[in-house]
Structure formats: structure tokens, C-alpha cells
């Protein structure tokens, strides 16, 4: 880790510190007034959809330069294999189904394939994702991540879905800017587009989102970005700024993790309706894909489009919930590159969490031992240069949890 980061330490330090200042600025601004954006444009395009004799109001937005006009709320299918729920969503006016090559080992795409069979191809849109082998520590692609493998997976996805093309194909789960412009994937996108197997290129990110979004915008290689974005993210201000820049560049923005998932078990928020409204206050978010698994949840989610305005009680509730200080490392990875010793800080923070939140000492020790941290860790630097984005006293926590190395394993059991 230290070798990989060492060469560009100085430059990256400066960059990270600038990023940190921007972050503080945006966060303070966020809590000072921009936690809620000004009221959304009332002149949004709306349509009344009728399903099974029931009228429902849909807000439509255009997905950037793709030109696709889609409802502000669509469906993330990853959690359900219930064909009738997917069918009901489409019949209710949902247009975009979000899935991935890897979901349910491929069954998710198969189930969708069964639902869309016989429906006119232009009556729905499919967004799927393909992943290639990544180093889980660095987030970088590994050997085996090739154009051929990417295209092979795409072909299998098309077969499972029973379609000739997907509307959006994302490269799945990117956390590093280096992976954004990964040549083998870009080549695969080119070929797939030429062959008519995809209409639009996309990238999805659940961690280190601002870096990925900025890199994707700069690369000009993407039509759509699918990103985690919610009011509980400590760095939502940065995500918002990155999204704004991407949207201005014509990139379609799909939001995810607005209410469920993320680092906590679902549901992650108390007021689901307010959480959905919060993300849709941002006009640069063109649609979101909540992963509902019941008919009731679908009703709740879609009914949000009736009126996207946040009420005063909803605002108070969101603010209250957002102000609860998180005890977990957010995985923003801003600390990487700041430490002079190149320590794997997110992993060490995870070990700290295992120790004090999960109280799982075997697991914490296991992790600490595998990280091979130096013997006098965090004792020689004088002042720690690491500025944690959520204010953790990183060096104190590291010194503390590193003591687990000295405890005999059999004692922990």
C-alpha cells in the first residue's frame, strides 16, 4: 500500500487537502442552509398514468444527453425475483428496470427476461451492469479484467434478458478514478455500441463517489452515472457538486441508495417518503431506482411523485436524523494518501468498529494482524497529517486498536 501511494504522496497530499477544504465548505454550507435545496421547479413535466383503473401522477425528467424521458422514480430489481411485482411496476408506469449481470447469480436478469417477453421493446428501458475482477483493497482492476471478458458477460446478460440490446450498460461498482478510464472497458463499450448491443454507456459507484463522478465527467466516455446519494452521506455536498458538474456536461444521473441498503441493513431511514423527496429535490438527479420488494413499498415509493415538496415536519425529521453522528468509517477514502506511513486507515477503522461496536475481538484481531502495520504505529509522526472527513481522531483510534496485536490469539478465542 505504501509503495503504491509513495511516489505521488506529495502531490496527492496537496490535492487531498484542497479536496478537504472544499469538503468542509460544502458540508458547512449544507448544514447552514443547503441541506435542503430551494424548491424544485414546479414546471416539471408530469403525466398521469392509468393502471388497473387507478390514476397515478408521474414526474418525468430527461436522462441527460440520452434524451430518454423517464419517471423520476423507477425500479431497482436486485432484491426481488417476484415477476408479478416487476410486471405491476411496469404496468403502473415505471419505465426503467435496473439490474446487473451479477445479481442473484444471473437469475435477476432471467426473471426480468420472463416479464418483458412479449412486451414491445420500446415500452421499457433496461439498465444492467457488468463487473470485472477488482482488487478489493485498492479498487483497481486486476489481471483477467479484459475487453473479451466484459463482452462475454454482456452477451450472457442479453441472453438471460432475452433482448438484443440493453439501453444502459454500466461498468459496475467503481471506486477509483483509474478504473473510470480503464482501456479494456472503454474498448468493450465502443464495440458493444457499434454492434448495437448497448445504447448508452454508464458507470456505477457506491464508494468514493465524487472522485469517480468527476473522473467520469472528465473522461467524456459516459452517458449515464449511477451513484449512491442520500442525506445520510457525510459527503453528500461533494456528491451533489460532482453530480451538478456531470449533469451540466449532459450526463444522465441515476440515484441509488436513497433509502435502503448502504452500510446498514434496510430500511436505513425512518421516513422513506421524505428521503426519496430529499434526493429528488436535486434537479440534477434525473431518476432514482429504489429496490422495493412488496406491492405496498411500490405504492409508497411511486406515490412520492404526487408531490415532491418536502413538508416542514419532514424537513425537521430529516435534519434530526442527519445530525446523528455516525460511528462508522464512511469509506470515503479521503484519508488514503494523507498518512506518511501509507497505513490502510479504512481497514484499521473497520477493526476499531469490530472492537467497540461489534465487540467481536477475534474478528478485530484477525484483521489487525493481517494488515501488517509497523510496530510503533502512530507514535513517531508528531502531528498526524490525516484529516478524516467525519472528524475521527484517526491516530488515536489506530494506536488503540493496534494493541490487539499484543494479545495472545488463544486468549481472545
Amino acid at each position: 500500500m505504501s509503495t503504491a501511494d509513495g511516489g505521488r504522496k506529495g502531490r496527492s497530499m496537496r490535492k487531498k487537502l484542497i479536496g478537504r477544504r472544499d469538503f468542509i465548505k460544502s458540508t458547512l454550507a449544507g448544514f447552514g442552509g443547503l441541506f435542503f435545496l430551494p424548491s424544485i421547479d414546479k414546471k416539471q413535466e408530469m403525466k398521469i398514468a392509468e393502471a388497473k383503473g387507478k390514476e397515478r401522477k408521474f414526474v418525468y425528467r430527461t436522462l441527460g444527453k440520452t434524451g430518454l424521458k423517464i419517471p423520476a422514480i423507477n425500479m431497482g430489481v436486485m432484491l426481488t425475483d417476484n415477476p408479478n411485482l416487476i410486471r405491476e411496476a411496469l404496468d403502473s408506469g415505471v419505465l426503467l428496470l435496473d439490474t446487473a449481470h451479477a445479481y442473484m447469480g444471473g437469475r435477476n436478469e432471467e426473471v426480468i427476461g420472463g416479464v418483458i417477453k412479449g412486451r414491445p421493446r420500446e415500452s421499457y428501458f433496461i439498465g444492467s451492469k457488468v463487473n470485472l475482477p477488482q482488487d478489493r483493497t485498492t479498487g483497481l482492476y486486476m489481471e483477467g479484467a479484459t475487453t473479451e471478458e466484459f463482452l462475454k458477460k454482456l452477451d450472457l446478460s442479453l441472453k438471460r434478458l432475452g433482448v438484443d440490446y440493453v439501453d444502459i450498460l454500466y461498468q459496475h461498482g467503481i471506486t477509483r478514478k483509474e478504473s473510470v478510464a480503464f482501456e479494456p472497458v472503454l474498448k468493450a463499450f465502443d464495440k458493444a455500441k457499434k454492434d448495437g448491443k448497448i445504447r448508452f454507456t454508464g458507470i456505477s459507484t457506491h464508494g468514493n463517489e465524487p472522485e469517480v463522478i468527476h473522473a467520469a465527467t472528465d473522461s467524456k466516455a459516459y452517458d449515464v452515472i449511477l451513484t449512491a446519494y442520500n442525506f445520510k452521506q457525510k459527503h453528500y455536498g461533494e456528491v451533489r457538486n460532482a453530480i451538478a458538474k456531470a449533469s451540466q456536461a449532459g450526463i444522465g444521473i441515476v440515484g441509488m441508495k436513497a433509502i435502503r441498503g448502504g452500510y446498514q441493513q434496510p430500511p436505513t431511514v425512518r421516513n422513506i417518503t421524505a428521503s426519496l423527496k430529499w434526493i429528488l429535490q436535486d434537479p440534477n438527479v434525473h431518476t432514482i431506482v429504489p429496490g422495493f420488494t412488496t406491492f405496498e413499498q411500490m405504492e409508497i415509493d411511486l406515490s412520492v411523485m404526487e408531490d415532491l415538496t418536502l413538508t416542514e415536519p419532514e424537513k425537521i425529521e430529516l435534519q434530526k436524523e442527519a445530525s446523528i453522528r455516525g460511528s462508522y468509517c464512511q469509506g470515503c477514502r479521503q484519508c488514503l494518501g494523507q498518512c506518511l506511513e501509507g497505513l490502510p486507515i479504512p481497514d484499521l477503522m473497520r477493526a476499531y468498529m469490530y472492537t467497540y461496536d461489534y465487540r467481536n475481538l477475534p474478528l478485530a484481531q484477525d484483521l489487525v494482524l493481517t494488515l501488517n502495520v509497523p510496530s510503533r504505529v502512530c507514535e513517531d509522526c508528531g502531528q498526524c497529517p490525516v484529516k478524516c472527513s467525519i472528524g475521527f481522531d484517526v491516530s488515536r483510534k489506530i494506536r488503540d486498536v493496534a494493541r490487539l496485536r499484543e494479545v495472545p490469539t488463544e486468549f481472545i478465542g
Binding site: 431497482g76 436486485m78 432484491l79 426481488t80 425475483d81 417476484n82 408479478n84 411485482l85 451479477a102 445479481y103 442473484m104 447469480g105 444471473g106 437469475r107 432471467e110 463487473n131 475482477p133 478489493r136 483493497t137 486486476m142 489481471e143 483477467g144 456505477s204 457506491h206 464508494g207 441509488m256 435502503r260 441498503g261 448502504g262 452500510y263 446498514q264 441493513q265 434496510p266 429496490g291 420488494t293 412488496t294 406491492f295 405496498e296 462508522y328 469509506g331 473497520r350 468498529m353 472492537t355 467497540y356 461489534y358 465487540r359 467481536n360 475481538l361 477475534p362 474478528l363 484477525d366 484483521l367 493481517t370 494488515l371 501488517n372 488503540d400 490487539l404 486468549f411 481472545i412 478465542g413
Partner: protein, 297 residues
């Protein structure tokens, strides 16, 4: 012995938190120590990574949500490589019970896969071998493993299964499903929101194909009679009906999303059909299911 261990852990934790002592979680006290195997010609190429419910997301992104619905507890991952620059990744997911492990395994299992006799059940595809054993769901994948791919994956799988120590069995209730017309390896365990209703919570189901008719059979195991009653009442409410005097027996629910659902409640089980419109065939299958459940007892 166990008490001593708790005490030792307790003292250690007190030491770590410098006086802010509170009771320890004992959830891992019965956890078996799993070690990744040594395989000739291969070496571990990195550290063992561990993920818990709150961090699984870092490893499998959006896929984590589904694992969490099946009471995922812990994942250990390690990668091996050899001199030919091939690599094999082993992921061992531990779920709360073997039923939950079966649940997630069955969600990802393709019914036409190439099944292999490893653990409780497993299957192999190009570059991938997945199997379950007790509360564990194991996924092994290879990169650049070439023409020996199958052999390599099988070697690793056998060794991992051996180290896990328990072969386990498929949930016994699966034997109650009528055999006639059942699609092989189509059985699943849905842990939450069965049929898209939170009140039905979990169920086992299987796909059937008979004389051109495609349908599903399912069985729910409610906690007690009151829950059974509540399920039927709530289900009836979905269709605008009120079932006040719910007793054991059959119920026909005109489900607005799934069509006619016929339910049979008896004792601790609630079973039924989905997508089967032929009343005679429905009746026959409900009876066959009843017989299967009785045999299981």
C-alpha cells in the same frame, strides 16, 4: 471452560475500552474456526479479508442487500495464485442458519446448472463453482485457469468443504413438495416479503410444469396458530374481503397481482398454489402436499 473464555474476553474488552465496560456479545462463541486450505502448487496471494453485515457492501456492492435479507453474518475471502499466473478466489459466506444459507444459495442457483456432489449441494460453471454446506455458502471463482479450470475448482472446493467440516442437508421440508411435475432444483427459500407481501414473511416454494401448465407450490411455517390466522386475514383484506372467523381449512384468495391463490391451513403449516387456475388440479396438489407434510412428521 466456556465461562472462563467469556471471562477472559470480558477482561480484555475492559482493558481495551479503558473502563467503559458493558456486556460482551457472545454471538461468535459457538463459531467454528475455519481455515482456508493449502493446495499444492498454489499460494495465498494476499491477506484473508473479512466482511460483516455493515461492510459486505464494500465487497459486493448492491448485491449485498440480498445477502443481508438472508441473515448474512460474515464473509471471509482469500485469493490464491500459481506460477502460471492463474488465480482462484474463495469466498465463504456464513449465514445465521443452514436454511438462510440455502435461501441465498437457491436464489443464485440456476436450475439447469451442472450439479456436483460437494457439501450439501453444489454446481460448476465455467470459472465458477458454488456450493452450500450447513450455514455456509461458498463461491469459488478462477481466472486464467485454462483447460484445467474444472479440475482446479473441484480440488479447491473439496478441500474447503473438508475444512468446513459439515456437509449439512437440504431443509427437510423440501421433501414434502409433491414430486409430480416438479422442476428439478427449482426449490427456493424466500426469507422476506413472500409474494410481495410483508405479512407472509418467509416461504419455501418450487416450480412445476404439468401438461403445459406452469405454476408454483409454496409452504409457509408461521410461528403459531395466531400468526397463521393473521396471515389469512391480512391476505383476505388485500382483496377487500373480511375473514373474521378464520379456522383451519382451505381459502381461495382472488389476489389482484397473482391471480387465484388457494391456501390450505392445517396445524403449523400454510401451503398453497400460485398460477394454477384449474380447481381440480389445485385440489389434487394441495392434497398431495398435505400427504407430504404428514409423512415428514
Amino acid at each position: 471452560m466456556m465461562k472462563k473464555r467469556y471471562l477472559a474476553n470480558g477482561l480484555l474488552f475492559v482493558y481495551l475500552i479503558s473502563g467503559l465496560a458493558s456486556p460482551l456479545w457472545a454471538s461468535n462463541s459457538d463459531r467454528k474456526t475455519f481455515t482456508f486450505p493449502e493446495v499444492t502448487g498454489w499460494r495465498q496471494s494476499g491477506e484473508i479479508q473479512t466482511f460483516l453485515p455493515k461492510t459486505l457492501f464494500e465487497y459486493i456492492n448492491g448485491g449485498a442487500d440480498l445477502y443481508l435479507t438472508y441473515d448474512f453474518q460474515e464473509l471471509k475471502v482469500v485469493e490464491y495464485s500459481n506460477e502460471k499466473k492463474a488465480s482462484v478466489t474463495i469466498e465463504v459466506y456464513r449465514h445465521r442458519t443452514s436454511i438462510h444459507a440455502f435461501g441465498i444459495y437457491s436464489q443464485e442457483r440456476l436450475s439447469d446448472a451442472n450439479f456436483v456432489n460437494i457439501g450439501t449441494q453444489g454446481y460448476i460453471e465455467e470459472n465458477v463453482l458454488n456450493f452450500m454446506a450447513g450455514p455456509y455458502y461458498v463461491k469459488i471463482s478462477g481466472i486464467n485457469t485454462g483447460p484445467e479450470d474444472r479440475e482446479i475448482l473441484l480440488t479447491f472446493a473439496k478441500k474447503v468443504a473438508e475444512n468446513l467440516g459439515e456437509k449439512g442437508t437440504l431443509p427437510s421440508i423440501l421433501s414434502s413438495f409433491p414430486e409430480e411435475g416438479k422442476k428439478k432444483n427449482s426449490e427456493k427459500f424466500i426469507n422476506k416479503n413472500f409474494l410481495g407481501y410483508s405479512f407472509l414473511h418467509s416461504a419455501f416454494n418450487a416450480d412445476y410444469s404439468l401438461s403445459g401448465k406452469e405454476f408454483k407450490l409454496f409452504v409457509i411455517e408461521p410461528a403459531d396458530k395466531t400468526e397463521c390466522k393473521n396471515m389469512i386475514q391480512k391476505y383476505a383484506e388485500q382483496t377487500g374481503k373480511t375473514e373474521k372467523n378464520v379456522t383451519e381449512g382451505r381459502y381461495l384468495i382472488p389476489d389482484p397481482h397473482h391471480g387465484e391463490i388457494e391456501l390450505h391451513w392445517q396445524g403449523a403449516h400454510l401451503w398453497g398454489t400460485v398460477g394454477l387456475n384449474d380447481p381440480d388440479l389445485r385440489s389434487r396438489y394441495l392434497k398431495l402436499f398435505e400427504e407430504g407434510l404428514q409423512k415428514r412428521k
